[in-house]
């Protein structure tokens, strides 16, 4: 049963990922990527990590991709034009290297499959639950956690600096209305 669910989710994830790269309209790519993230959340659930699954949906699908979709809609991005491939003579080399990489990966996976490690019996563990994640985050890994908060502060400041219109951009002698600077969303309401 778990195997069936895993295969379905994996097919969804890989299919959406391929669609994302294949689509030339950025908004379609974004929708496909949301599909990837939702599939991944399902995969985390099969790995008994429900907390990470929920965070995955909230952070990636609920926040980051909304921003991306918002920017795509705001800038009205058009489809990519297909352009001639410049380095045509490198294609055979590329195919050869891809085959080599694939062979290498297959070898490693085969090696892992036959290695001596046996996972402990599948009993109920509380590793993925909220309490254990929180305990780890606020005791042993407190310093990295605090550093990420610093990182987010830097990102907020950076995003505001980037999104604010510089005074040089004057339209018809009148300074355009400044973008909302209090949000970390780039130019939310201009």
């Amino acid at each position: 049963m778990t195997i069936l669910i895993f295969l379905l989710l994996a097919a969804l994830t890989v299919g959406c990922a391929i669609a994302m790269v294949a689509q030339r309209n950025p908004l379609y790519s974004a929708i496909a990527l949301i599909g990837v993230f939702l599939g991944m959340a399902g995969i985390y659930v099969t790995l008994a990590a429900p907390f990470i699954a929920a965070i995955q949906v909230i952070v990636y699908a609920g926040a980051i991709m909304v921003l991306v979709v918002f920017v795509i809609m705001l800038l009205n991005v058009e489809e990519e034009v297909r352009r001639p491939i410049r380095l045509r003579y490198l294609i055979p080399l590329g195919v050869f290297l891809a085959a080599l990489l694939f062979a290498e990966t297959a070898f490693i996976i085969y090696f892992i499959e036959t290695s001596a490690y046996n996972p402990p019996p599948a009993t109920q563990s509380n590793v993925g639950l909220t309490a254990s994640v929180g305990t780890g985050l606020f005791t042993k890994y407190l310093l990295p956690f605090e550093i990420t908060s610093l990182l987010i502060l830097m990102a907020i400041v950076g995003a505001i600096t980037l999104a604010r219109r510089v005074p040089a951009l004057e339209v018809g002698g009148r300074r355009m209305q400044a973008a909302t600077t209090e949000s970390e969303k780039p130019s939310a309401a201009d």
Binding site: L27, Y28, I31, I34, L38, A41, P50, F51, A54, I55, V57, I58, A61, G62, A63, V66, L67, V69, F70, M73, L74, L129, T130, T180, E182, S183, K185, A188, A189
Partner: protein
């Protein structure tokens, strides 16, 4: 029939989900009717009262109308996304319904001890937040795919508004989470059953409750935060180009979201199914206790739904820049302050 058989358990769960969906859809249909009647009362007119006695069959007439209307698909729309958007909106709205505890533990004659909740798991509250955050796409994509100015403006506004207020919404819940120390909704409700069923979280978390209520109204795009569909400026906002059943899906999603948000407010702040003093009359676990608890739960939920309608009949609409600065400059700092205050009090052992 062996109740421990996993297939039978799965079948029972499916049955429970089916019943829940239908009950919620009925509630939604009658919320719409109640809204029209109450708005009529507030504005000094009658409201729909022709179909059936006092208008009680009006929802079915509306449904028939939606089914038989002509579907108009705009010529320049992006077909796939245009059809996908209402589905996302309605699915995201309905998926949250399974985690809410609507009644206490009860001993039934055949099934033994049953918890009146469909799915109980560790991260229920996070699940609700995650699924509701998907609902933004329904509106944003609908606005984009219709290929119309008004729809696009509505979609942009709604996505900006919803991600802004989602922050305050999430932070207002942190206070409750800090106090109860769990994300499991069932346990949060059970912790509020002290003081003869009156130990509700609203008393220590009043700031959080007010912030939650405000941002929840903004999340569901209701008056006074209904900028995405401000009909005086944007025709109908993101669903301008939708007709017939696809419009009905958006409509349904909005009202299910209203219901969801009311249920969450009841569960987290108003003690869920706890009715004050009920434990003195009946012994906990008996069937009458459970029945009155469920009734109490729904009374609280309907109070919130009534509050929504009341606000709609009373308040004017915000301007968009007012909306943004209210969310970011007032609501978010207040929510953060509430988190700091609660954390300090919990750390000192007061709460």
């Amino acid at each position: 029939m062996d109740l421990s058989n996993p297939y039978i358990q799965a079948a029972l769960q499916f049955l429970a989900i089916f019943i829940t969906f239908n009950v919620v859809l009925m509630i939604v249909a009658y919320t719409v009717l109640a809204e029209r009647r109450i708005l009529g009362f507030i504005q000094g007119r009658l409201g729909p009262n022709r179909v059936g006695p006092g208008g009680v069959l009006q929802p079915f007439a509306d449904l028939l109308k939606f089914i038989f209307k002509e579907e108009i698909v705009p010529d320049k729309s992006t077909r796939f996304v245009y059809f996908l958007a209402p589905l996302i909106a309605v699915t995201a709205a309905m998926m949250t319904l399974i985690v809410y505890p609507f009644g206490p533990r009860v001993t039934l004659p055949y099934f033994g001890q049953v918890e009146l909740v469909i799915a109980r798991f560790d991260i229920a509250l996070l699940y609700v937040l995650a699924v509701t955050s998907i609902g933004v796409y329904g509106i944003a994509l609908a606005g984009w795919a219709s290929n119309s100015k008004y729809s696009l403006m509505g979609g942009l506004r709604s996505s900006a508004q919803m991600i802004s207020y989602e922050l305050s919404l999430g932070l207002s819940l942190v206070g409750v989470i800090l106090m109860s120390g769990t994300l499991d909704l069932y346990e949060i409700v059970e912790q509020q059953s002290g003081w003869y069923g009156f130990k509700w979280n609203i008393f220590p978390q009043f700031i959080g409750f007010v912030v939650y209520l405000t941002s929840a109204i903004a999340e569901t795009n209701r008056v006074p935060f209904d900028l995405p569909e401000a009909e005086t400026e944007l025709v109908a906002g993101f669903h301008t180009e939708y007709s017939a059943l696809k419009f009905a899906l958006f409509f349904m999603a909005e009202y299910i979201n209203m219901f969801t948000v009311s249920v969450l407010a009841t569960t987290l702040f108003l003690g869920g199914w706890n009715v004050p003093g009920l434990a003195l009359l009946f012994s906990p676990g008996s069937i009458p206790f459970a029945v009155f608890s469920v009734i109490g739960f729904f009374v609280k939920v309907f109070f919130f739904l009534f509050l929504y309608i009341w606000l709609r009949g009373t308040l004017p609409r915000f301007r968009f820049d007012q909306l943004m600065s209210f969310g970011w400059k007032f609501l978010l700092p207040v929510a953060l302050l509430n988190v700091v205050l609660t954390a300090t009090l919990v750390w000192l052992g007061v709460l």
